[in-house]
Amino acid sequence: MTGIITLIQAAIVFGTVIMLGATGEILAEKSGSLNLGVPGIMYIGGISGLVGVFFYERGNADPNGFACLVIAMSCAIAASFLAGLLYSFLTITLRANQNVTGLTLTIFGSGIANFIGGSLNKLAGGVGQISVAATSKVFKTSLPGVSDMGAIGKLLFSYGFMVYLAVILAIVVQWYIFKSRSGLALRAVGENPGTADAAGINVTKYKYLATSIGAAISGLGGLYYVMDYTKGTWANDGTIEALGWLALALVIFATWKPANTIWGSYLFGILYWMYFYIGGLTRSSQELFKMLPYIVTILVLIFVSTKRRRESQPPAALGLSYFREER
């Protein structure tokens, strides 16, 4: 029983990182931007938040928890928004190829984050020595009294606030895309920009905003990873990149519906951590278990393409740039 609870807890923490990444990416993809720069953006979000509070906590003997929170969040959001803006400028205005631009953004983002992260480590005196204790504590604080609430309480309430924020964001984005007027326009842009344009929708504006705001949300995934998952430290081990690609997988798995990322991400978490809780596995066969989320995603991708159910397809104009005079 405890085993299952710890498994689910681990899965939820793991899932939250990719849920944020995927929610942001869905927003971008719904506008037609296949942003393969998600891993890079998550890197940028994570490192910017860390840098912000690192210098704040260094300069303040008694850092204010709320200020830590605001600084971390706003740095992460602003930096990843800018990364999204860069991608948008290149692909939308300059019509560079989306895949190549996204991959470049991933290279660039991981470079910049690991460069700064490595320098911070050096500044702080070694890997794991970065001290943003106050901030990490804020991110990890759960509801008081949870430990007394038994299994259910632990399952539901033992996490930092971003676990709940991610769920709320997924629901809000789901509502925005599928229930709001502006979301309708956004979907039209991703499905058929020519039609959207003819209906008087500003295609460029929608693509820019969706891609950049999506990037900001994805960036929060990176921040959560740094502040909660690794407790406010930095390691150049490439985990964020792996999680970023998994977030892209989750987008497919969720068939472009943010609400599905909620259970999908937890399921990915369970699949990812399951080896830990299954007895009798050698370490090498544990490694094989880690491919499960990807295998499942491939199966979903194949299933979706053979079924041809219209609602589950990728946005029809995904990956294409739009130029009104080319028709």
Binding site: T104, I107, I112, F115, K122, I302, S305, E326
Partner: protein, 377 residues
């Protein structure tokens, strides 16, 4: 309905974007080279801001880092060969407009297959061993390419996302093998394979450890150029990439071409894995591909699939990488600086393509540029 005061009077958009078709080869390359120069200047400023070193000195140091000693030179050549080899593998797929971003995985399975041979088949005559390594590494890569290609050809399954996922399956398989072959126990690494006997290591040529890598890839540059430009296969895949309808019109079996081309693309990426394991590191890890599968996409794309241009771009990227590492170690920064520089450079090159394909037309020139519009449907 008459709320249209702002609609009266003639106002046309201030700036319009018009597709241009007149940029010649010289002009195109001029724009690209200008982009590279601007990027290098920006990088120089950035480096100056970080280390307060004269930018010229910086590039001199970078040059030393890449070519300064014989050993550095050979390592630069070796890494260029590796990156280029992957790019050569990707080129036919991308020319066919098949987005194979699964080179990482194809390299890894090729590398794993090579390591399998080195570990389990040692004792075989050298020729036979190398034949097995070559064959199995290419086969593994080809299978990794075939799976998404088959689904793409038959169901139109999105190959970008499929090949991406295949990378992580390959990583898991590699991790599995690494922990199986762990040496010494608990190190979570395979260590150098056959360190004493050097079985399955690509041999030195004229006393140069990496000459054989460079020569093999150089041969591939020529062969792939010929394949794409001069053979029937190469012609067919180019037609498919341009327009599937035209391909059908000409009687080309589009499915067959997709599958065949991806077998080749995967096999060459698998071969790159062989180069990485047998010809360079003599070990296998999840870092064997090291993101080069992604960088090579950019190499192939920017070179417009011309293998000789790809060689230049690969060299430029490896040079930047080595150079940045040199600066980093000199100034006690870390190696990731090279990725930043690479990123900036690539952003500029990508952005510059716009100015080759489009032209900005300002309102007062409007009358001269009306030819670009369509006809009655």
């Amino acid at each position: 309905m008459a709320k249209n005061n702002e609609l009266s009077g003639k106002r046309e958009p201030l700036v319009r974007i018009v597709r241009r078709t007149d940029a010649g080869r010289i002009q195109s390359w001029g724009i690209r080279i200008a982009a590279v120069l601007v990027a290098l200047v920006i990088c120089a400023v950035l480096i100056y801001a970080l280390v307060k070193m004269n930018p010229l000195e910086v590039y001199k140091a970078m040059f030393f880092g890449a070519f300064g000693t014989t050993r550095k030179l050979w390592i630069t050549l070796r890494d260029t060969a590796m990156l280029l080899c992957i790019g050569i593998g990707l080129a036919p797929a991308f020319r066919m407009k098949f987005w194979n971003i699964g080179a990482e995985g194809q390299i890894l399975v090729g590398g794993v297959a090579t390591a399998v041979c080195m570990i389990y088949l040692k004792g075989l005559p050298e020729i036979l061993l190398f034949a097995c390594m070559l064959f199995l590494s290419s086969l593994a890569g080809a299978v990794w390419g075939l799976i998404p290609a088959w689904f793409k050809a038959h169901f139109g399954t999105n190959e970008t996302l499929f090949t991406l996922m295949m990378n992580y399956v390959a990583i898991s398989i590699t991790s599995f093998c690494v922990s199986k072959w762990e040496n010494p126990y608990g190190s979570n690494s395979v260590g150098i394979i056959n360190p004493g006997t050097k079985e399955g290591w690509l041999p030195d040529l004229f006393g140069q450890q990496y000459l054989i890598n460079v020569l093999m890839v150089a041969a591939l540059v020529v062969l792939m150029y010929i394949y794409m430009e001069r053979t029937k296969h190469g012609y067919e895949l180019a037609v498919v990439g341009d327009s599937e309808n035209t391909a059908r019109y000409a009687g080309i079996d589009v499915k067959k071409v997709i599958i065949r081309t991806m077998l080749l693309s995967g096999a060459l990426c698998g071969f790159s894995g062989f180069l990485a394991v047998s010809g360079a590191s003599h070990t296998i890890s999840t870092g064997t591909a090291g993101g080069r599968g992604f960088t090579a996409i950019i190499v192939a794309w920017l070179a417009k699939f011309n293998t000789f241009t790809m060689a230049l771009i690969a060299l430029l990227l490896v040079f930047l990488d080595k150079g940045a590492v040199e600066i980093a170690s000199k100034f006690n920064l870390n190696d990731y600086a090279s990725q930043i520089i690479t990123g900036i450079l690539l952003f500029f090159i990508l952005g510059s393509e716009f100015f080759i394909n489009y032209r900005l037309v300002f309102a007062h020139k409007e009358k001269h540029a009306v030819q670009a519009e369509g006809k009655e449907a």
